[in-house]
């Protein structure tokens, strides 16, 4: 890098993939735009969030009317500290990646938690912090933040 003969320049490669969401993920993202998290009840009566298009056990298509809202609050089932945020990540300060099981759901969703590392515990209660403007994308959930009532039983 110290050689003055050698040039140096920023260079990026980008491709904007256009993806069809399908009926279930489309409904999930439409729900996020309305500030509501949707799951789907599968053949084993488990509520899966985000909702898959097909049942994991029977492989049958899950009906649209099996969609149902789950809570904006939930419990942390696992987490990992991210000490250095990178470009494009949900937060630009250190944060935790976490699996959050929302109230009413039987599966966990991966997202970011904005909290000091010392406060993070498996079992802690968190709630959705919505983006200032929702557009129908997973980033409509800006992140999760701790609930005041503390640790779930």
């Amino acid at each position: 890098m110290s050689n003055p003969e050698v040039l140096s320049a920023p260079h990026f490669m980008e491709f904007g993939y256009t993806r069809s969401t399908g009926p279930m993920v489309g409904a999930f993202l439409t729900g996020l735009r309305d500030r509501q998290v949707l799951g789907v009840k599968d053949s084993t009566d488990r509520v899966v969030v985000p909702p898959p298009e097909y049942d994991a056990t029977t492989a049958a298509a899950l009906p649209h009317d099996a969609l149902l809202p789950v809570g904006p609050e939930g419990v942390v089932t696992s987490w990992s500290w991210n000490p250095r945020s990178r470009l494009g990540q949900p937060l630009d300060t250190p944060f935790a990646w976490a699996l959050v099981r929302l109230d009413g759901a039987d599966t966990s969703i991966l997202h970011a938690i904005d909290a000091p590392r010392s406060e993070l515990r498996t079992g802690m209660r968190v709630r959705v912090r919505w983006a200032a403007e929702t557009v129908g994308a997973i980033t409509d959930i800006a992140c999760f933040e701790p609930c005041s009532e503390g640790i779930a039983s």
Binding site: M1, V6, L7, F12, T21
Partner: protein, 162 residues
């Protein structure tokens, strides 16, 4: 905003700091001055454009820097009928490999100024440069090549490059 979501755009992006090395750096400085620079192998005498540090065939370091012409021979080409997402050129267009006069390697360049179905191997072409005030450290200073109108080159003169 009441229509249901049916699609999303998910950009995949990689950010680099690109350092081209000494030989490509001198090539890019040449481009900034409107010159096509290569380097000659002291062993096989082939001129590489753009140059690397050494000759990949002989395994020896390049020494001599040489300027090649901005005229050349179209040695092979492809007719493009589908536009890339962010590159909009009137279809169909031709992407060609040009052997600039004095060089022993070819460069991929856009071919313009002729109908796609009239393009042929051996066609003589000349670089069309962007206006000098737009020149930067990039091969993109050559916007495209266009026919010179000279007679086509003999196949023998470029057959090693097809």
């Amino acid at each position: 905003m009441s229509e249901p979501v049916t699609g999303i755009i998910t950009p995949i992006r990689l950010d680099y700091t690109y350092t081209p090395g000494t030989s490509p750096s001198s090539f890019l400085r040449g481009m900034k001055d409107g010159k096509i620079l290569g380097r000659r192998c002291p062993s096989c005498a082939k001129v590489y454009v753009p140059p690397r540090g050494g000759c990949p065939m002989c395994g020896v370091e390049f020494a001599e820097e040489v300027q090649v012409a901005d005229t050349g021979t179209l040695v092979t080409f492809a007719v493009v009928n589908v536009n890339f997402a962010n590159r909009v050129i009137d279809l169909p267009y031709v992407s060609g490999e040009v052997l600039f006069d004095g060089a022993d390697t070819t460069s991929m360049v856009l071919v313009q100024g002729i109908a796609a179905d009239a393009v042929r191997m051996g066609m003589r072409v000349k670089a069309h440069w962007l206006p000098p005030e737009e020149w930067d450290f990039t091969f993109a200073n050559i916007d495209y090549v266009e026919p010179t109108g000279e007679p086509d080159a003999d196949y023998v003169s470029y057959k090693e490059h097809v």
